[in-house]
Symmetry: C2
Subunit: 432 residues, 2 copies
């Protein structure tokens, strides 16, 4: 039995365009392999040149969102506009007309899934967002239908291609942040205003979506500790390498008896760790479950076609499954009050200090760390810094701590920074 399904695409940018081409080019293939005939009934985009470039036939071009949602041939609406403005308005209009929605919009899902899912449920239609996280890698399908047998206790991932590209360049070519960013912009990997990526917002949205699913509780993005990569120095990447570490912008989610811990920040991981060799625009997510032990999913995290793969796989799923699976947790605007969030999280630390090259300085610094209960694994002095004439010579001192709490380290470093013999230059968390 063949099934006929009509779709509309809102926004024919990079992902929307890739989705259009994938659907059109594979129509026969899906009919043959999935038993479903998916036709693009209409598209909505103001950029007519772009529509022409993609080869959209004129009769497929809708004049307004009202026209799209009123079209009885449209069963599924694909939203690839992005952001929380019109995208959200359009999605709500589609859901209210009983059309299932497939979206690649992490910001919207992260911020508004509670609202959108409520409308979807009320109208008995589905809301699918595999494409919102990690491009073509089916991480959401895996969390929903592949590893449900497990208490997921830990999640670590590289989910932003822009920052991973920049950090890979800084690591491999010794480039500084600004140079690597400019190259990423030139290649189209980074936007003109790169804030959303480099300051970790994009990763934060994705971690909020993925950890909500993995830990079966609403994790608002506002609960995610966030730190971007714009203050990372190439010298710290190089020094970390000497210690056997690779720097990545990681999303980290942990779920234990203490509560849920979610954070996005530059992190040193052992260079032998599977995530350390995830380079350039590749992404990966590592999960630990109480039954499955650990698994990792790896692939292209962005781009027109890898993301279209996720969009279209969701479309096929929606077209071939009548069951709609909503969040497996209480999807509210805020966190579930029963869920505790750990804010004073535990980590090991890499600290770079600039210290006076004088006898006794090391002892004083070690003493401060000890006083705050932070124990040190490694101390390493580097070659003297250049200072002005007459000034006390200074040198970089690298400290690697044992696993300790965030607060202890903060307090110790505040104390050190207040002395006249040492200044804190860089603090980077270390995951073993």
């Amino acid at each position: 039995m063949k099934k006929k399904v009509g779709v509309a695409i809102l926004g024919l940018g990079v992902v929307g365009g890739g989705t259009y081409r994938t659907l059109v080019d594979h129509r026969e293939f899906y009919l043959k392999t999935q038993g479903v005939d998916i036709s693009v009934e209409c598209v909505l985009d103001r950029n007519l040149a772009r529509l022409q470039e993609l080869g959209v036939p004129e009769e497929c071009i809708a004049g307004s969102i009202a026209e799209v949602v009123a079209n009885p041939m449209v069963d599924i609406v694909i939203e690839t506009i992005g952001g929380v403005g019109v995208a959200k308005d359009f999605v709500i209009m589609a859901l209210q007309e009983g059309k299932s929605v497939v979206t690649a919009n992490k910001e919207m899902i992260s911020k508004c899934s509670h609202e959108l899912e409520r409308i979807a449920k009320r109208n008995a239609c589905g809301l699918y967002y595999e494409a919102s996280c990690v491009g073509g890698v089916p991480i959401i399908r895996t969390l929903l239908d592949g590893v449900q047998a497990n208490h997921i206790t830990e999640m670590m991932g590289i989910v932003n291609g822009t920052t991973n590209y920049i950090l890979t360049k800084m690591d491999q070519d010794g480039q500084d942040y600004q140079t690597a960013l400019k190259e990423a912009q030139r290649l189209g990997y980074a936007e003109f205003d790169p804030t959303n990526d480099v300051e970790g917002f994009d990763s934060t949205y994705k971690l909020s979506i993925l950890s909500s699913m993995a830990f079966h509780t609403k994790v608002p993005y506002t609960k995610v500790y966030r730190e971007g990569i714009s203050k990372i120095s190439a010298c710290d990447i190089a020094i970390g390498k000497e210690f056997g570490y690779t720097l990545k912008l990681l999303v980290i989610g942990k779920n234990s008896e203490k509560g849920v811990e979610v954070r996005v920040h530059p992190t040193f991981i052992p260079s032998a760790h599977a995530l350390a060799s995830v380079n350039d625009a590749y992404n990966a997510v590592y999960l630990r479950g109480d039954a499955l032990d650990d698994i990792m999913l790896y692939g292209k995290g962005a781009g027109a076609f890898p993301t279209a793969s996720a969009v279209v796989s969701d479309v096929i799923y929606a077209a071939t499954h009548s069951e709609i699976k909503y969040s497996t947790y209480k999807n509210t605007a805020n966190a579930d009050s029963a869920t505790k969030f750990v804010t004073d999280f535990s980590s090991a630390y890499y600290v770079r200090l600039s210290v006076e090259d004088k006898a006794g300085t090391l002892a004083k610094i070690s003493g401060i760390f000890a006083k705050y209960g932070v124990s040190i694994v490694k101390l390493s002095q580097k070659a003297r810094e250049e200072v002005g004439e007459g000034e006390t010579p200074r040198l970089p001192l690298i400290v690697i701590t044992h696993k300790t709490t965030e607060n202890r380290v903060k307090n110790a470093l505040a104390k050190i920074d207040a002395t006249d013999f040492a200044k804190v230059q860089a603090v980077i968390r270390v995951e073993e």
Copy 2:
């Protein structure tokens, strides 16, 4: 709305036992997170000591398969017996009573899916087998519901933990095959009769299942070219390493205009390839799709709990989805006659010859390769072999070829082997 689902487990060995404990220990968790109350209604196993060890209550122990399938409380039957004997009979009995079946049995699915699926369809019940391939890694869910948007053009994987453990030991510790096998047996990674694993049968079953799904056509295991690891010498692993290669028992599936190509054999891959660092009992599958580019799934490929994770995730899926997805291809006893299978496949080759240390030998060997159209990338002589007094000195000659066809290489090597100045010692395929 909470749903109640009863399951029976047939065979409480390693995987069955892990499944029992997972279901019992997570019952509350599944009720809370998946909205389904899964109770183990009965188990079937003749080993009463094992049942006691697992803490199975007496009232849960069934006396016969007839009792299990007649039990109206049982909705889903889990088969963890293995093999194609009673396991298959029991599965058929369960399906005929309208019970959905979840199985970890790769041999049975590979050999009999056409028969079992027909019975399942006729009785409107499901047949799920995520656990048959790659333990806790949701590769089957991914192929069914995660990457369906793609023409999958290539699949490469390490899907057998026993052989990967042995090859890892041979690689890292320089052990010979027999020593590494004995250690694997001592640790319980290899069976007393290791044939099924080391000769590649297990991998062949898995590749038949995975490539059928990936390429949307029936790939009988008999169509898979198979070569095991028992003839691999530690010296070839060591020499390969010098050339930048790591040896793995790979399953390889390709789907192109020429047809479907499926093979299982020891393979040299570049040591920088993502699969090269999949060590010990870990497994991984690498997929290439026309939209998604490449992805890799990695995790524990065997063991009680990783495999139980897959079994139980299938149980939850069956319990929460009323839609049953059968094979997306024509599932018959034999290959679809419309599908071409490539047998003279293309590959690069590593060849170790033992050659006479005499002027002109190299030229003669190069000449034979050239005559058969095989071009050589690298030639490398090793230190002289020990020979008896008076015999012509011999030395190992390593030849790495360009990508060529299997038949050309076979013909060239047969010719070389028939000479008196060179003998073929080892032939290993190379994937770049």
